[in-house]
Amino acid sequence: MEKDRKEGIRGMANPGRYGIERVAYWLMRITGLGLLVYFIGHIYETSSILDGKAAWNSMLELTQTTEGHIFLALVIGMCVFHTGNGIRLMIGQAGFGLGRPSRPDYPYTPSSLNMKNKLCIYVSIGLAALAMMYGLGVMYDV
């Protein structure tokens, strides 16, 4: 317990300690920040249309490479995970799927961290992987 307190924000952030829920917590924030950065880049990228056809085509060339396609596939994965996990969180905050409140007895397992929630996290990760594969198929005209 003493060690836990000494770890401070690093202890809170440790994704290996509290199971898949903590991993989902971090993935939600990392994907959110990644999507915001992509969105700002996308707004900047599309503004090149105002500079004419040559500027648009040269900006488009950046995304029409293998690296560009891999980056876009990652964006698709981040988007799908963020959406799936976000829906789980919204449902949870509305009070559904959290289990029945009960007296806190040893081993103090919170009813809110149940299999339904864990399953939703795994499904979100699986859907993200599938969407990335589909996106790569579309981008490479497979």
Partner: protein, 119 residues
Amino acid sequence: MMSNVMRESHIMKIHYLTAMLAVALVIVHIMVRIVQGFSDSLLFDNVVANYQFIPYAILLEAVLVLISVHGFNGLRVILLELKQGRAYENAVTYGCLAGMIILVAYGSRTIIMTSMGMV
């Protein structure tokens, strides 16, 4: 501070509402790319034609506003989780608000000028 003007619970309701609306509209945005053929849909003339189709331009503007509000509020929430304090919270809140306004203004400029044929 923003939370003095608006309750944090109201801000989170706006966060969830913008998320749900953005998901619905982004699905339409992506479907338009796929239906036209991904590569063809990105050709200069096709993109300009998309912008000049007013219902689609309105959809793009809505997506721009919804994702900007959701994204910058998400950034605000993440930054407020890391550190607290009156000056810091004010700086984060107003900084995110400014970022959101700048992004919406810059994106709207592209949408309005292209849809009016100023390319």
